[in-house]
């Protein structure tokens, strides 16, 4: 991999981290625990979904693993209003 690609990937990751956080939709969640199980830094995403609170821990990587793995589409990455962009 070229160094420019690495730099690009890191830039995208930083952008994602700055731009959003994981938001649960409790009505869709069945507490199966797949989200917490696959979180690389062991955030209990399932508990957030039960309580209906976004994952706004500063150490959340916003890697999107939980969002992609949830079999019920209960999680989404949403932008924070502070960094909301036009368009």
């Amino acid at each position: 991999m070229k160094i420019t690609h690495l730099w690009h990937a890191e830039r995208k990751r930083r952008e994602a981290r700055a731009a959003g956080y994981v938001v649960p939709e409790p009505a869709r969640c069945v507490q199966c625990g797949i989200c917490s199980f696959y979180c690389p830094i062991e955030i209990d995403v399932r508990r957030h979904a039960w309580e209906g609170i976004p994952v706004h821990e500063s150490y959340c990587l916003t890697c999107g693993e939980c969002v992609a793995r949830c079999p019920r589409g209960a999680l989404s990455l949403e932008r924070t209003s502070l960094y909301q962009r036009e368009g």
């Binding site: 939709e25 969640c29 507490q31 199966c32 199980f37 399932r46 508990r47 079999p71």
Partner: protein
Amino acid sequence: MRRYLIVGSGVAGVSAAQTLRRLDPAGEVTMVSYDPFGYYSRPGLAYYLTNEIGEKQLFPFQEKDWQALKIRRLRAWVSRLHPAEHRLELSDGASLVYDRLLLATGSQALPLGIPGADLEGVVKLDDLADARRILNLCKRARRAIVIGGAITALELVEGLRACRLQVTYLLRGSRYWSGVLDETEARLVERRLAEEGVHILPHTELAAFQGQRGRLTGAVTTTGQHIPCDLAAAAIGIAPRKELAAAAGLRTERGILVNDYLETSAPDIYAAGDVAQIVDPLTGEAALDTLWGPARRSGAAAAQNMAGEAARYLKQVPFNVTRLAGLPVTIIGRVGQGADQDVAGIVRGDSETWRQLPNAIIVEQSYEVNRLRLLVGERALVGAVVMGDQTLSRPIYELVRGGVDLSSCREALFSSPRPAEVIGEFWRSWRAQSET
């Protein structure tokens, strides 16, 4: 100090316990359940069978969560209920008295009424003990058959395939889940199952299981065909566990009948979750749901009423997001297709409301594995099935739930070759309007 008693440790019971603790910090809350595993994600068993998660992940609460909740948990079988005395009798002869009682006893699989159903190797998927049994049997089983319909049958099919068994799926009718899916949707699922190596046998009904030394060796169909197998999994429907209530003289039908405040016909006794039969404002009829979301909401609402807050519980538009043959599927509102020969009554992850035949025009769009079926009523959307791409799942749920007037896009919906785009565009403008 008020004494609250909850029978059942499923999501309705746990949600009630949390709400009671919040509303009445000094109240004494006792939860009685016969399930040795207590509270776990019943829908998660599907992912446990496919080995996507381990057993540990099924338990949303850790010991510290229970301690924080400050409730008493009892593992016991409740043998009788005495409403006049406000008392429960346990199978060991002990008694529990209550000021307010919640029955959240859930539901259980209907038994297969054919000879040989008691052989080792014939299984169901009601609880964690069943899932453990299945995984254990899979270690030495080679060939499995699955009988039944709807979501649980496919969970079993996929779980057994994940364990590398040869799986034959028997359908009494001509296609999969005919009570909810239309023909195109059913064929889409069947095609994907076939691609996964599942052999589907339509128009096949079992007459008996056969076994040797108490172990399953095969099954015989009503036409005399012999199917060798060493595991048979059935999901032909469930029945709410209403016996305790019925024996105590509470009003019951298919489940325990409750009013909008989740009160049963006996004073100070409430019911919630799968066992509660609640009037659906959409149809005016008392209906059953076996969905996690409504179970949680009804448990919380019952607890509010038990604690003295008058909280009216209104059934919402039923919806479920599930995976059928690896394909995400959302079912919303009334999408009825009629009878289903593979299931009796209701199954898990199901709503009786879905099968109501609405007065609606069907609009559909398909592309490869993606399919959208909209049930367009006189004014608003009344139901939908979203298969594959789930982009429209949330927007459509909002439109059905809100009974949003579709007049401005009705014509376009019927005439456009891409109704998915029309409804997506309509939702965006509706949302933008409602935000301003």
